[in-house]
Amino acid sequence: MKIAFTTKGKDWDAEMDPRFGRTEYLFIYDEQSGEETSLDNREVQSEAHGAGPKTAQKLAEAGAQVLITGNGPGGNAASVIQAAGITVYIGASSMSVKEAYQAYTSGKLSKQ
């Protein structure tokens, strides 16, 4: 499973970014291969409109199957995510990526 996190930094110790569309980074962890990638999203962050769908598209292109974030994506982004078949878990804010992953594996995050 490829799992994506909205984050403020590039590694497991980074803090989660509760925002979806304007998140600073996307951190992606591939559970099978153990591979970790970090996508810089700051360019999208400064977009006037449509940051949500754009970030969602990035996520889909990276092949993520699960998204872990804070507030959850808004209308337009949600429809892109749905079309891409990504499952969204929300409520992961004010914690590190590591803690968010633990919360997810222990079933503490709610599915959107």
Partner: protein, 295 residues
């Protein structure tokens, strides 16, 4: 983080006077954001020091290089915003009409058109007299994208609040129902609607509340100048009941609102009676906020 947004639909209802009063009552508990960027007035009451300023850029505006332009007219044909006209030497773009879609630049056969990012305003983070920070902005004349600036002000206020460890952001929202107010509302925990019992006050309240409903944000209402028209006051009260909007307060028509403003004060610093009413209103907002979050 709690975010309280004060909006009114209609202008002149006392929205900004009330928001600034809430800011004084909340003091150091909250960070303040002025999202009424088109007519930003809260700084006149809260004494900001404009200590940090930053230029704010919009989307793009097309610019035609007259030395390259061959006056072929293709750009003018494709522009849906009537932003391009012909001069003797070259075609020219009227920046106030240009939407920044970039279509003209894509079809120009000689690449005479570039898209320039334009400075449309300034963003400030100030210390204010209530021992906290305020984020505010000034929009350049005729600038587009005030929705984007509103979003910027709000996001900045949230990160300032995070940095300072404040649990609340108090927002003076934008008028109307368009892009700026949509940006003001997004992410709000509670909306305070300020209205007055006039035919237009009621009309605009209904429209703006439809928008609030779309966002599913809990709302409360303050009726200012409440004794102007008993019949419409009643209609407003019925509306609040039907829509389950918290009825926060009714404040009688009172020229002390203006007197306070003329002296650069908020009403709670100016008039004892108003201080009492507005304090009770604010306490109620806080109480509702707490119970809404518990659920």
């Amino acid at each position: 983080m709690k975010e309280i947004v004060v909006i009114s639909g209609k202008g002149g209802t006392g929205k900004t006077s009330l928001t600034a009063s809430f800011a004084v009552l909340a003091g150091g508990e909250t960070v303040v954001a002025d999202c009424d960027v088109d007519a930003a007035d809260m700084h006149l009451l809260l004494e900001p020091d404009f200590s940090s300023r930053e230029e704010f850029f919009s989307g793009e505006v097309a610019v035609i290089d007259p030395d390259i332009c061959t006056n072929c007219g293709i750009c003018r044909q494709v522009c849906r915003f009537d932003a391009i006209s012909v001069s003797e030497r070259s075609h020219i773009v009227a920046p106030l009409s240009c939407e920044g879609c970039g279509y003209c630049a894509r079809v120009c056969p000689v690449q005479a058109i570039s898209n320039n990012s334009e400075q449309v305003g300034e963003l400030y983070v100030s210390s204010i007299k209530t021992d906290t920070k305020m984020v505010h902005a000034a929009l350049k004349i005729g600038a587009d994208n005030s929705g984007k600036l509103v979003a910027r002000v709000k996001n900045e206020a949230k990160s300032v609040a995070e940095e300072l460890g404040k649990a609340m952001v108090l927002v003076d929202g934008s008028p109307g129902i368009g892009c700026p107010v949509v940006s003001s509302l997004s992410g709000a925990s509670f909306v305070v609607l300020v209205t007055e019992p006039t035919v237009s006050g009621l009309h605009d309240l209904k429209r703006v509340y439809q928008l609030v409903k779309k966002f599913k944000i809990p709302a409360g209402c303050v009726v200012n100048k409440a004794d102007l028209n008993p019949q419409i006051l009643q209609e407003i009260e019925t509306l609040l009941q039907d829509e389950q909007i918290h009825y926060l307060a009714k404040i009688p028509y009172n020229e002390e609102f203006t007197a306070a403003m003329t002296n650069g004060k908020t009403v709670v610093e100016w008039d004892q009676n108003l201080r009492q009413t507005v304090s009770e209103t604010w306490q109620q907002v806080l109480k509702i906020l707490e119970s809404e979050t518990k659920e």
